[in-house]
Each structure stands twice: as structure tokens, then as C-alpha cells.
Amino acid sequence: MSDSETDPEDSNVNYIPYSQRPEWSDIEPLKQNDGPYSVVRIAYTEKFSETFDYIRACMQKDEMSQRALELTKDACQLNPANYTVWCYRRKLLFHLNSDLNEELIFIGQLIREHQKNYQVWEHRRLIVEKSQIYNNELRFTSDLLRLDSKNYHPWQYRQWLLKTFNLWSTELDFVNNMIIDDIKNNSAWNQRYFVISQTTGFTDDIILKELDYVMNKIRSYPDNESSWNYLRGIARLRTINDDGKIEQFCQQMYDEYQQNECRFLYAYMIELIDLKCQEEGKKQSECNRLIELCEKLALHIDPIRKRYWENIRSRYTDKPLPNHTISASAS
């Protein structure tokens, strides 16, 4: 059964086939030529076939008329994934100097019906680019993100808007609210990184502020890969890294979360040790710690990534992985 979206195939008593419209009588519809064989042949409806027969006919003669524009509206709604028709529609819109405000309304409706379709988002972007009518666009994408906060298309489109029209002023607030709404929304975290890198940049001062921000978020919900990834991402941009701030944070977390081991914490601690050893040479106590953490992960708290943890561990010891670790929380 068809879903609740408006269905262009709904039998609408007012719909007149193109072949019966006098204003189209001069056009000979052009049938699709799949050849004599049936290969992935789709059982099109009458309406679908006919509409595209007329599209083909118009495209063949490169007709640039108002009626062709109307025709593309039908075709685009019947198959919003047909990139050729969208191209033709744009050609018509620009040639006929059509009202692009109206077009934005049209494409807005279509996007709401097909939120994950590539062509409709691209069409909107090209209309906005041509018309430079961007005043409603952030609002448009945030509305869509309210429906699906992780939909890749509105996020990508939003980034394009921010860069093209310099709309940065409210974005960090927006991102912060998205993170408050859902701390595990990785798209929001990615957006945070994007905004800062494109505006102030990750200066050491900014990084200090961001470290506080992300550490608070981690404390409030440690079992969240997004925040740890963000921490890692900004930490490695530091030019001055001798305040031990991050190591301290990890150690605190480690002490606090003995009973409720967090794989992201351990993973990050391993990386910090690994990095330190690469820069300053291997110290036995540090190596032992790294090995211990790898074993905890491989054997207890992150066994699906056992091979990965084994691999890292093997750079620090030749001994084979034990079959079980002595309960480390006893120490």
C-alpha cells in the first residue's frame, strides 16, 4: 500500500492524459526504446510512461516553452531521481526567467516528501545559487533536521549555505543546542568542528575552551564515541601540549570509572601513551600500562576489536596475549 506521502499516481479524476490535451496535440510522444529484450524492465503505470514519452519528445526538439516546464513538474514528481529531467527543468526555468521563489516552494515540498533523495537537494542548491535567495535556507534545513537530526543531505546543504553566504553568526549556538538535544548526534559534533575550523580556527586558546567543553560533555556521558572523537580531533591540533591537561583528565576518568569501564577512555589512553612513546621514547611503566589496557579491551570490554588491540599491543611486547586477565579492578 502506498505510504502517507502525496502520491502522484493517485487516481485523480481531474487528471487528463497528455494525449487528450488539445494544447499538446502537435507533439508526437516518443516511446522509450529498451530494445527487443526485457532487461530490468519496470512495469510503469500509464501515467508514468506517457509523461516520459512526452518528455523525450520535448527534449529531442529542445523545446523551451512554458508547457514543457509544466510537463517537467509532472515528470519530476513521478520520479524525483531522474537527473536528466531536473537538468531540463532548470534549463527551462532559467531560459523562461521563471519565478524562483515559487520554485523554492515547489522543491521544498518535494524535499519533505523525499528527504533522502540527492537530486532534489541539489536542485534546491542550484536554484538558491542562481537566485541568491538564501534568507530562508537555514530555517529550511533546521526544520528538516528536526524531522531527522542526522540526515546527511541537510547537513551537507547547510555547510554549503554557511560557506557561500557567510551565515556563521548563529551556527555555534545552533550546534550547541543540537548537542544538548542529543549528545550522541555525531553530525552535530562534526558540525561543531566544521564551524570552528571555518571561523576562528583552532587556535590554542580556542582549543583550551573546547577542551573544557568536550570534557564536560564526556563527564556527563562517557560512553559516547562522538565526544571522544571530538576530543581526539582537537587535541592533536594543539601546538603547545605540555600542560598535561588531557592526561590528567583521562587519569581522573580512569580512577572514577573503575567499576564501569569505558572502552573509549581506554582506547584514548592507549593512543596518548603510544604517541608519547613515539615522541619521547618508550618508558617501561608507560608501556606496561598500554599493554594492560590493550589486554582489558581485547579480552573483556571490546572483544570485537580484539585483533586491532592485539596488533597495537604487539608493538610493545613479544609475549602472546594471555587467555584471561587477572581482574584488574583488584589492584
Binding site: S38, N82, Y152, W155, N185, N186, N190
Partner: protein, 357 residues
Amino acid sequence: IKCEESVEKIYKDFLSYQHREQGSITLYREHHVRYLLKALRSLPQVQQSLDASRPWLIYWIIQSLYLLNEKLSDAYVNEICDFLQRCQNPEGGFGVGGPGQIPHLAPTYAAVNALCILQSDRAYDVINREKLASWLRELRSSNGSFSLHIDGESDIRCQTYEGGFGAVPGCEAHGGYTFCGYATLLLLQRENLCDKDNLLRWTVNRQMEFEGGFQGRTNKLVDGCYSFWVGALFPLLDAAERKLEHTIVRDERMFDSVAAQEYVLLCSQSNLSGGFTDRPKANSHSSDLYHTCYCLSGLSLFQHSFNKNIICGNIENAVCETHPLFNIGPECAYDAMQHYKQLDASSSNQNESVNDN
């Protein structure tokens, strides 16, 4: 939470079944072959939205059949070639919709791959390589939405702080784009430009500890198609590593192969209608050709480490090998390249002899 619950139910059911019947995880080959062959001929009305993707449909279907070791008759080969030929634009590239259609990189990729899978001269001859090359060159300098903007810089800027690649610089790291980005770098022999350690770390973290399958982005749901998009990164990263080290450092991939296979076979497989889907659904008729292709392709990669095979369940579950760069059979890729190489060699010989005269 809902996803985890439905996956949990499946694993529990399976464990209790196995306990009772000593049964084994099964790949329902006959169901899938029937589903695929039917689709190869025709599709119902609901698939109208895939009208612009028919070369993709062909590729998804015949790649799946190849993996299931189902050979296509000469008649089928002929018919597929005939159709794809009609999709080719006289100025180069493939598109859909008949005369006036605009060639597009996506159907072009699908058509070329499909033709190579067929392993036949008839198929190789369909591609007008000269025109294809000139069209691709044209794309490089155009402002179209698919400008092939391969300069090292812009590609690498697609790698995010998380280690994976996004659609364009700034976008969130995503399994599909990561595969395409990294595979492209490898094809261009520029894989050393990206941060490999970070990429590996991101990749291993895409395997779901509970479900065993892969997600496409941090904190998102598992999806069978990432079995390929993310799963292929392991052999690719491995290959890059081996290039660096010149010795075989390790003969294992850094993910849990059995868990990954279990996800595909127990949770993505649609045993009623044939085909595969993204994750367990209430309506088990909801398989589709895209997921069928990429679940099977992922399964193939999971089964075939380069030193040994790891077949989860029945040995009959083994599917044919696929090349992690192209996602067609390795022999298909090799034969096609050989064919065109020989073609180029013999035509340059001809040119030489003409010049001599």
C-alpha cells in the same frame, strides 16, 4: 534500541535453534538466485523510482549472481549488452532515459562494471573507450555536479578529524564516501596522502559490538550494505600496508569476521522472498537489490582473507571472491584489463606499421 532488540531476538532464536537442532547458519542460495533472475527480467511498478538507475540494477543483480556462482547464459549476456549499449551516449558515458539523456558518472560506473562481470568480448566491445575518455576529461574542467576533481588536495580535505571521509570537505565521515575516497586514492597511487592510522581507527570502530555488522557513521544504526563499503577498507588498508612494508606483516584483517558474517546471514538475509536488507524488519519481504549486492559482496570479503578462508556456517555458504577496489570478481577485473591492454598494444603496432610505410 529497537534495532538492538530485534537483532537480539534473532541471535537468541538462533542460539536456541542451534542448541536444539545442531543446525547451522545457511545462505539461502536458491531463494536469492530466483529473486535475482526474476528482477533481471522485470520489476514491479513500485520500482519506478529506480527508473534512472537501471544500469545500477543490472550491476547489482549480476554481481550478486556472480558471487552466488550462477553463470549467465550467452542469451542473457547478449540481452544485457544490447540494453547497456542503448544506454551509452554517442558522445561518451552512460545514462538512462533514451535519446537526449545526459550521461552521468554513476550509471557509467555501473555499466562498465556490469560489462566487465560478463567476461565476454561482446561486452568489452560495447564500451566506446575513446568517447568515454574524452567525456571524462571534459568533466574535469566543467562546473557540473560531478566534476572529477581529483587533485590530491581536495581529496584529502575530505578526510575528517574522525579519520573517515565525507562527501565534500567538512562533511561527516561516512562509510560510502570513505570507501570511494580511499579506493580512488589507491587507484591514483596516492594513498600515502591520507592519515592511514586515523582511517584504520575509524574503520575498526564501525563494527558494532553487539550486532557484529557495520554502521556507516559514528553512533548510527547498523546496515548490511556497510558490510561492503566499510568491510572493503580492511583489505584495502592491508594492501597499502603491504606496499609500505614489502613483507607480509600480518595475515589477518582487523575485524571480527565471524561476527560480521553472522550479521549478514542472520540479520540481513530475507529468507522468505530472497535478497537482503539493511537490518531485521517486521516485514521480511522488504529486501532490495542494492542491499543484496552489498551484503553478498561484504560476505565474500569476510570469508576470504588472503591466507585462509573463514566460512561461517555451512561450507556451502562460501561465495565467490570479489575485488575490494572494483567490487567485481578479481578474474573479471583482470580479464577486462588484459583485453583492453592487448587491444591497445595491437592498435599501436598497427599505427607503427602504418608510419613505417
